[in-house]
């Protein structure tokens, strides 16, 4: 039972990863990545790490990938224009990738030998994860959390400073994700000529224009 599940979900993870690479539209790539995350969560479950499995779902599939999808939607990232295919990159890229893969496989074979991984039949309790995090690895854990805090504070600081320089707009227009107006463009700190000539006017746009094109106009 367990090996069969391993191959099914391992296959789904691989297929999702390949689909991620070959899809032209970014939204499909992002959704394949969600599928990969889900399949990986099942693999964690097979290894008995149920806590990690569901944290994987909550954090990666439920939060981070949602942000990815959000950004893709807001930028209205459609199928990108294909670049001119570089013959050199093709000639060098594939062999190097194959070489790296072989090297990785060799490394893992040397490190773990032929000991088969046990799937199923045992369970890591949540309490054990807590013990490991807050007793054994307390210092690394706390240091990592400080690192995250620095990152978050830095991002907020940069955003706040940019807003200050261009003068903060009234609260209501600043937060509301509505139809772009001049006040909003200012609130979002976009200089009028930075939009490539297309200055956003509050004038009503034709009804037939798709929302995506309009969302693109608000400069985020």
């Amino acid at each position: 039972m367990h090996p069969a599940l391993f191959f099914i979900f391992g296959g789904i993870a691989l297929a999702g990863a390949i689909n991620l690479l070959v899809q032209r539209a970014p939204i499909y790539s992002a959704l394949s990545l969600v599928a990969v995350m889900g399949a990986l969560a099942v693999l964690f479950l097979l290894l008995g790490a149920e806590f990690i499995a569901f944290i994987q779902i909550i954090v990666y599939a439920g939060a981070i990938m949602v942000l990815f999808v959000f950004v893709i939607m807001l930028l209205n990232a459609d199928v990108p224009e294909p670049t001119r295919r570089s013959k050199v990159a093709q000639a060098i890229g594939y062999p190097v990738m194959a070489l790296l893969l072989v090297e990785l496989a060799g490394f893992f074979a040397a490190a773990f030998g032929a000991t088969p991984v046990r799937t199923g039949g045992y369970l890591v309790q949540v309490a054990a994860v807590g013990q490991a995090l807050f007793h054994e690895f307390l210092l690394p854990f706390e240091v990592t959390s400080v690192l995250f805090l620095v990152g978050v504070t830095g991002a907020v600081l940069l955003a706040a400073r940019r807003e200050e320089r261009h003068g903060a707009a009234p609260r209501a227009t600043r937060v509301h994700a509505g139809v772009p107006t001049r006040a909003m463009a200012e609130a979002l700190s976009v200089p009028p000529n930075a939009m490539g000539g297309a200055v956003i006017e509050p004038a009503p746009q034709p009804e037939s224009e798709p929302a995506h094109a309009r969302a693109q106009g608000d400069g985020r």
Partner: protein, 337 residues
């Protein structure tokens, strides 16, 4: 128990749960229309069947027979997938909710629950966090401005309030010392967690309203400004699926509130063995019913938030309050040890 019997019992339980849930959703909707009508001094639906009790059946037939419209500019695949994601996620979440004790089926002991897993609460949060894809993809794939704005609002609102929702549940989990919903309920045999964790209860309730996109947090489908929000372009059964998902989500968060704060199926139990088996289930349903009534009651009472108020309330008030609650719970617990 043998695997075959296990699968059979699970299938039977799934079928019963699905039937009960879908019927319940249909009648919550009727109850909502009736209660809101009475709050607003109207009569409400009373044409179909006695007192309008067959209205849900009429609605279902109408939903099925309506024409399916797919906008020409829609992203077909995602447009089709979005309602499916919403419904599947909503229905999967309910599978770990326990509604009573243990009983015997075919001579094997089994629970009033489809899947008894160790980290049921985490499973619920994980599955519910995926529900946002249904809304986000629906709005984007419809390729219409109202849908798009609705799904942007819905997505950011759900991601924001998920945080407060999860943090509010940490307090009770710390006291119970388990993520297993059954053990959380059993830990409440002396005192319901609504008493020591009243603040967390209030935070949970508020966040749950936002998480299910209900008034006063129904910005994603604010009909005055957005048409119908993220499902503006959906018709017929596809629309009904979003509808269904919203009401199933309401049931789910009500169940979680009952399990974590109101002592689950605890209540006075007496009488013959059969009654002792079913009374806990009755108490559980009564408590869930209370929350469902509260949803409808609030809908008939409160106006809608403005969007920036909603975000500021979530991030600047609920999240810090929930964090403080976790901190205080931790301090009190370690002092009491």
């Amino acid at each position: 128990m043998p695997t075959g019997i296990f699968i059979l019992i699970s299938l039977i339980k799934c079928a019963i749960a699905l039937f009960v849930l879908l019927t319940l959703v249909a009648y919550i909707q009727l109850a909502e229309r009736k209660i809101v009508a009475h709050i607003q001094s109207r009569v409400g639906p009373n044409r179909v069947g006695p007192y309008g009790f067959l209205q849900p059946a009429a609605d279902a037939i109408k939903f099925i027979l309506k024409e399916e419209v797919t906008p020409a500019a829609a992203h077909k695949l995602l447009y089709l997938m979005a309602p499916m994601i919403s419904v599947v996620v909503a229905l999967v979440a309910i599978s770990v909710v326990p509604i009573g004790g243990t009983f015997h089926l075919f001579g094997y002991p089994t629970q009033f629950q489809i899947a008894d897993i160790n980290i049921g609460l985490l499973f619920l949060l994980g599955v519910m966090s995926l529900g946002v894809y249904g809304i986000v993809l629906a709005g984007w794939s419809s390729n219409s401005k109202y849908s798009f704005l609705g799904s942007l609002r819905g997505g950011s609102q759900m991601v924001s309030y998920e945080l407060a929702l999860g943090l509010a549940l940490i307090g009770p989990v710390m006291i119970a010392g388990s993520l297993d919903l059954r053990q959380i309920v059993q830990a409440q045999s002396h005192i319901w967690y609504i008493i020591p964790e009243f603040v967390a209860f209030c935070i949970y309730l508020t966040a749950a309203f936002a998480e299910t996109n209900r008034i006063p947090f129904d910005l994603p489908e604010a009909e005055g400004e957005l048409g119908a929000g993220y499902h503006t372009e959906y018709s017929s059964m596809k629309f009904a699926m979003f509808f269904l998902a919203e009401y199933v989500n309401m049931v789910t968060v009500s169940c979680v509130a009952t399990l974590v704060f109101l002592g689950g199926w605890h209540g006075p139990v007496f009488g013959p063995p059969q009654l002792q088996l079913w009374l806990p289930v009755f108490w559980f349903c009564l408590k869930v019913g209370f929350f469902l009534f509260l949803y409808i009651w609030v809908r008939g009472t409160l106006p809608r938030f403005r969007y920036d108020q909603l975000m500021a309330f979530g991030w600047k008030f609920l999240v810090p309050l929930a964090l403080a609650n976790v901190l205080i719970t931790g301090v009190v617990l370690s002092v009491m040890k």
